[in-house]
């Protein structure tokens, strides 16, 4: 059975939004090697998003294209986790902006790629053979993303007083947003019912173990999390997504059908 289009868009939007955030480091990396690494992670994510948007566009039919899905949908149509649209720095209110914080970027990549190795591993066995083919490729890439991020979480956590404090602050800022992983959306439920996806709640114990393993080595303390659960995958986003999309979609919307 085929996965519903909304589920493909959820996976694609996750990848494209994080790809855009990671790409903000291009030319600004803390060291040259990390500038290259983040750009390469970003390329993988945008590549995964393209494969998923192409598949979604083919299933929508008509004049749908990958570009229309990425550039001509508005913020409330996006189905990504709120976690992935947050800026590359800690919490601030309103229009306030801050310098990029590499610990925040790394911690987010770690929490997300720890989930995605499990999700892609499960989707590789999806009854939807076209989705399974994308999952098989994406899994290979997500493993390297996790490896990269986990290495830096350990270096930061078990590093200097400053790097430890910033990694701990990033973890405390971001971990509450991961609660959204474990509350299935209607699109996820429909994909599970079609045999095209796995119930994400069954992955939680493995994710907890992956995260705990790295945090222990990093000497970081996992905070207690409770309270509001974000709903980005239902289309209810933070204000940050609109700014991100304004930058990402601006050129395509200023020159519709432009080719260069």
């Amino acid at each position: 059975m085929k996965a519903p289009v909304d589920y493909l868009l959820h996976l694609a939007d996750n990848a494209v939004v994080l790809g855009q955030r990671d790409a903000e480091w291009c030319g600004h990396g803390p060291i040259l090697e990390e500038d290259l690494a983040l750009a390469n992670v970003s390329l993988d994510l945008i590549g995964q998003a393209r494969l998923l948007y192409q598949l979604a566009a083919a299933r929508i039919g008509g004049d749908a294209t990958e570009d229309k899905l990425a550039y001509f949908r508005d913020d409330t149509a996006f189905r990504n986790y709120t976690l992935l649209e947050l800026p590359n720095h800690g919490p601030l209110v309103g229009y306030a902006a801050s310098d990029r914080d590499y610990a925040t970027t790394i911690m987010r990549n770690f929490l997300y790629s720890a989930l995605m190795v499990l999700v892609w591993d499960a989707l590789e066995k999806s009854a939807d053979s076209e989705l399974a083919a994308i999952a098989a490729k994406s899994l290979k890439e997500a493993r390297y993303h996790l490896h990269h991020a986990a290495d830096w979480v350990v270096k930061f956590g078990d590093g200097t007083e400053e790097s430890h404090a910033r990694a701990q602050a990033a973890l405390e800022h971001l971990l509450p947003y991961t609660e959204e992983f474990w509350t299935p959306s209607a699109a996820e439920d429909a994909a599970v019912a079609a045999g095209a996806a796995v119930d994400v709640r069954t992955l939680r114990a493995a994710w907890d173990a992956l995260v705990a393993d790295t945090l222990a080595e990093a000497t970081l303390k996992r905070p207690e999390v409770r309270g509001y659960v974000t709903e980005g995958k239902h289309g209810r986003h933070s204000e940050h997504l609109s700014y991100l999309l304004a930058e990402m979609q601006g050129l395509a919307r200023a020159h519709p059908n432009g080719i260069w």
Binding site: E33, N40, A133, A150
Partner: protein, 164 residues
Amino acid sequence: MSSNVDKVWASLEHLTDPEIPVVTLRELGILRDVRETADGLEVVITPTYSGCPAMGQIEDDVRASLEQAGIAARVITQLAPAWTTDWMSDEAKEKLRKYGIAPPHQTPKDVSVMKFVRRAPEVVACPQCGSTHTVVTSQFGSTACKALYKCLDCQEPFDYFKPY
């Protein structure tokens, strides 16, 4: 019938990777298949990394070579089975090493997702002096498919083509 297929293979044999000009697309496993169908000839290519910017160039190169040889064939991109560095021949790996890129190890079979993070770093031999006294500088090098290493004996930095 098969002579048409052979002609296509022959017309594409010289095509090399845009980033690594010492290995051919066929040796890398990107050029997967040439087949004759009811609708005509088909050339099957498979992408490497999802976001590899060289894939567009590779597809253009394949089309241009077919056109130059006067062959009408469709180019089809096929995702499954997913491309793997295990498809590289030993000869291709040796060419990489001579070019200064440490070739990929075999991908481990049945890698458990859970074990991945904590696995020991791979021992990668320096393509210049052969020493295994090397350290990883960065897990992503000039392209997503390569990691940066440094040899602690001959001091040369080098690329390692990562298992995929």
